[in-house]
Symmetry: C2
Subunit: 568 residues, 2 copies
Amino acid sequence: MFSMLRIDTATETVTKETSDSLEYLLGGRSLSSHLVSEEVNPKCDPFGQENKLFFCNGALSGTNVSSSNRLSIGGKSPLTSGIKESNAGGIVATRMAQQGLRCIALEGTPPPNSGWRIVVIGRTGTEFLDGSFLAGKGVYEKSDLLSEKFGSKAGCITIGPAGENLLYASGIACSDPHGVCSRYAGRGGLGAVMGSKKIIALVILDDGDRKPDYVDQEKFNAAAKQIIKLLKENPISSKFTKYGTSAMVDICQALKVLPTQNFRHGVMEGAERINAQALYDTIKERDGEGKTQHACMLPCAIMCSNVYPDKEGHLLCSPIEYETMALMGSNLCLKNLDTIAEMNRIANDVGVDTLDCGAAIGVAMEAGLAEFGDDKAAVAMMEEIRHLTPLGRIIASGCKIAAQVLGVKHAPHVLGQAIPAYEPRGSKGMAMTYLSSPMGADHTFGFTLRDEEDTLTKKGKVDLSKKFQVIGSRMDAMGTCNFVRYSVRNDMTPLLDLIAARYGVEVSGEQFDDMVKKTLRIEHQFNTDAGITIADHRFAETFYVEKQPETGEVIDFTDEETLQAMQW
Amino acid sequence: MFSMLRIDTATETVTKETSDSLEYLLGGRSLSSHLVSEEVNPKCDPFGQENKLFFCNGALSGTNVSSSNRLSIGGKSPLTSGIKESNAGGIVATRMAQQGLRCIALEGTPPPNSGWRIVVIGRTGTEFLDGSFLAGKGVYEKSDLLSEKFGSKAGCITIGPAGENLLYASGIACSDPHGVCSRYAGRGGLGAVMGSKKIIALVILDDGDRKPDYVDQEKFNAAAKQIIKLLKENPISSKFTKYGTSAMVDICQALKVLPTQNFRHGVMEGAERINAQALYDTIKERDGEGKTQHACMLPCAIMCSNVYPDKEGHLLCSPIEYETMALMGSNLCLKNLDTIAEMNRIANDVGVDTLDCGAAIGVAMEAGLAEFGDDKAAVAMMEEIRHLTPLGRIIASGCKIAAQVLGVKHAPHVLGQAIPAYEPRGSKGMAMTYLSSPMGADHTFGFTLRDEEDTLTKKGKVDLSKKFQVIGSRMDAMGTCNFVRYSVRNDMTPLLDLIAARYGVEVSGEQFDDMVKKTLRIEHQFNTDAGITIADHRFAETFYVEKQPETGEVIDFTDEETLQAMQW
């Protein structure tokens, strides 16, 4: 049996429920989207009484299997007005497992003008504490204060000033293995949903004593080793081990899909100044606290994360990911890793999604508020968020609203969520993935780029996107890191073997994929019931009529093709 | 036969078409919504190539019938993402009639970075002139420059800096009888649509020589006199003659529906300081250029407009309407007519809707950016629009976006358009009208307030709203002023007699109402095709869960009831 802790923020009461359904067994997005779909009124105000936040760990959380401790957070998104699952690494999923929890639900909203609360979950029960001492503080300071109060090994979930102020691009920050809340479920504005419930931190104490028990320990250990072997042998995972996701800079530049100058271009002159090698060399050269091969969760054999040090070798930001390097780098024509790291640090501190805010700054630059390539201006815009100025609020509202307010037609989003770091006119597979995602423009669940024979034709891309929507969603579906997908590809046997050995439940590959597809189906259904239509599954008109200079391409998909990719 | 001038802003070519369909005969909203529905892709970008703007006069434009020269402007709205008809008084409809035109269409968009153009329509043809000398200037200065260049009797249509900058609450300003562009088609952001087409002014010269010809002049004259008689005899119209729409302040205060403190309350202490009598007395006392009983168009027997003078007797703003007095007055807890007039003047000058911007300032005050009741702060916020600061842009984006960016849950809008000056929890009839309008929250077409037996019960309000949706829409349907409805009520005979005498076309009351209902039907259909669903036809959640203090009421309509009121 799997347990869910329901926390009613209106009455400050807590109840526990159990279930042994397949959704609970798998956890992750299978569970979070199931619960949102079952329990949240699709038409509700994302900041209102009817929205809920579900924090779910996965089937293998708390075990010694590599890369299995992602935390899926689900709810209705203010940014897309639809269903959202956003997941993060860190240690929270592990702490939940140690407390015997598969899911924590935050429900209701307290009366207007209620103060900030911290919810603390431990072996002896759940407490509500005054959280006012955290209010208005940056996430780094919040992390320190939480560590001081609850120990650096507690699993903490918090939000920044952006989330406290209900800004639409706010993320949720989770403790990393060092006790710093720097692992973000960044997308879709769920930080603002947490803010609307006046919960400034959710702490899972390190006093849990539940250890995973195994139906077949030997088989489990063998399968866990097999996963490590697969990860080590796989050339993509092992490249991530050395370079992290920054390896994508050169790949995208070569494919002409590196977002540049507010998604006007797919190539940036000087991109090598912010590529994987430049990042690697800078970290190695500065040394100090800097690190390549860094794990966001324990255990992990991939270790794609990094610690980027400043010139004195002190931690400036951890991690710096490719998506941020593109959206806060090339997309703004910035070619200085220190600038990107500085912006990333501020984003983490104020608690916003680096993608949507990077895209919003691109929009602001196109509107003439600053020059593309102006490092100081870009950092200053991030600082505006910290000071909650009108411009800061515009940027922290994400690129769709920024484009509306600043009068920019070339707004890089689908369904209200900023396009990730692959220019869609130059990759028709990624374009179809963005168009048909129930989460708004998203790359994690239908990552076609490495498998497109011809990136410029739309031929076959509906099917290709659908294929990778399943492959990517499999990982989310059980709380496993997305990068494990390169190693298992179309054969889930190693992971399903682990589930069988752990729980004694045999899930066939077919059954598992049925659950993955069912999840996509209920997500789209939630969105339909929320009032989202095919008219929302579109790029801005400019992507259809203005050719990407490097490829001569425009988006040429029809609504019917998008609908096809949404049928499950 | 009725003529339409199609102006392609991409190629600067002009073509003329004719039609004798009933839609063309009636003009007004019958024609504008017909054309939008037939010709605009509902899913298009409102600022893109596929949107069009239709300027339509009405069946009796150019005749001597009182109150018959409204100009209906139609297109897809950036504010609501749906169909929009917004109409204004002034002299443009008359000038179009004198040029033999029923409709002017602005189509396409010029290439990126094109300069501003003025389109000049006269007896000898249509010209495109450089409009760069108008760019960035306020509407008052634009008016002067246009009068200078084209004569004070030309019918001019222009936009303010807000429209030039694609801000969502931008209106379209039309010449009044004195050559000042102060007659606004304010709602729905059509000024930004005009801006997206890079047309900074549309001028219909005063050299038209077409006079209305009549199938039966004698019958026409008799019917025209009958209209005047009806207007003079009607107590509501005649109250409007003395006080204008400001007569509503006391009525709404008594009914507890005067929007106060960001629609938190329905009663404002001290409302008598901004009521009809206060306005009347101030104008009379200051004298000078001040005027009660002022006509927005010629001829008009109602003359509900006014000219509000400053302390020295110079024109400060003309007109000041009840809707503005509420949204920029009581809604902000402001009790000073001079402040309201000053804000109204700035709104007219920068080219924005006073309702949506008033509501946005209310939201900003609730967010803590200024105190309610702070006159200086309210004026300063309007000045921010002039300077296009980030805060100014937020306010000129209307109250929905302002609430999103500023983190305010009590956002007074439906379908993205600000609620007009009747607190919906205190008038269930008006609430249903707001909910079910295809235009976003709107009061002109389903004004139930004067006919609600019990404003606090929802019982019977679906039917009452539908009844008045027809009564109100009848006026829009032929370019007649909305206030004529009080005189004709359920009997359109006098107006249909005029049509018969003018054109020799007998339209029965039933046929006419069929057209009115068909228009509502195609408007809702356009919205459905644009991706609008019942989920958009809702107030913010707070209106459903927080009681209006004065009445103890919340919105209690179901989606099914709203849908019922949308069936035609």
